[in-house]
Symmetry: C2
DNA sequence: CAGCATCCTTCGGGATACTG
DNA sequence: CAGTATCCCGAAGGATGCTG
């Protein structure tokens, strides 16, 4: 596994460049909204645009479109357009997209554990005062 | 494990609020620099401020300070100040901070796999044209 | 060396209006 | 419904100078 140091040679993949695979990962699934988008698509399956928007809680239409297009370009998300009126578009994870789910679940599990420990400490702190 | 939907009730932990533990995780270790900072501290151990800055490749002093303070406040990073001239400050992961490393390694491994598959496809595309 | 304070710029992203 | 297309603001973050 590549170790992420600034000293690594710059790699290229398509029009993207990065120093290590960790950085590559962050470029693909990092940012403010992408992890949540992927998580929703992974947990609940296929989603329409407006469903995703409601689920994301606070994301604007512009941002959601933008992030989905980037995920699509990176082969993580599939966009299915139904040629009908009114329009219907469904988003889902590609096979590649599905491979990130175990890691996202781990992140979520880590959060649960952190929550548990932090709550304990908060409790202890209250008792001390 | 909590499912991340906007419909969940808002939870509180300290002065932080979130809808699910996945969101909590992102608040703690998400953002442009934090994953890389944690990864460096986790892989290479203790780091001085200037070492980290060099390793991070492009981060400004202001950002590095800011991110380190937030990680410290969240119990992920330990800051050891040596009272001497010139000053020396060393950063390392706390026990809590170390618990995130397996997940970060998974993210890195995922990137390697993505890189491999994407490179294959790029190759196939070149041959076709 | 490891910061803090300040100023200043960029651009992420919100609001709004319009379309196939 | 699922988008584009603009306009525009404000916070994120860069540059610089100073200090214990």
């Amino acid at each position: 596994m590549s170790v992420p140091t600034g000293q690594c040679p710059l790699k290229k993949l398509g029009d993207r460049s990065y120093h290590c695979t960790f950085e590559l990962t962050l470029q693909i699934i990092g940012g403010k909204w992408k992890p949540m988008i992927l998580y929703h698509l992974g947990c609940d399956g296929v989603h329409r645009f407006s469903e995703l928007r409601r689920a994301l809680n606070g994301i604007t239409q512009k941002m959601l479109t933008q992030q989905l297009r980037e995920l699509e370009a990176d082969g993580m998300v599939h966009r299915e357009v139904y040629p009908q009126v009114p329009p219907k578009v469904e988003y889902s994870l590609t096979p590649m997209g599905r491979t990130i789910m175990p890691v996202l679940r781990q992140l979520c599990a880590w959060g649960s554990e952190y929550e548990r420990l932090a709550a304990q400490q908060e409790q202890a702190h209250l008792q001390a005062s």
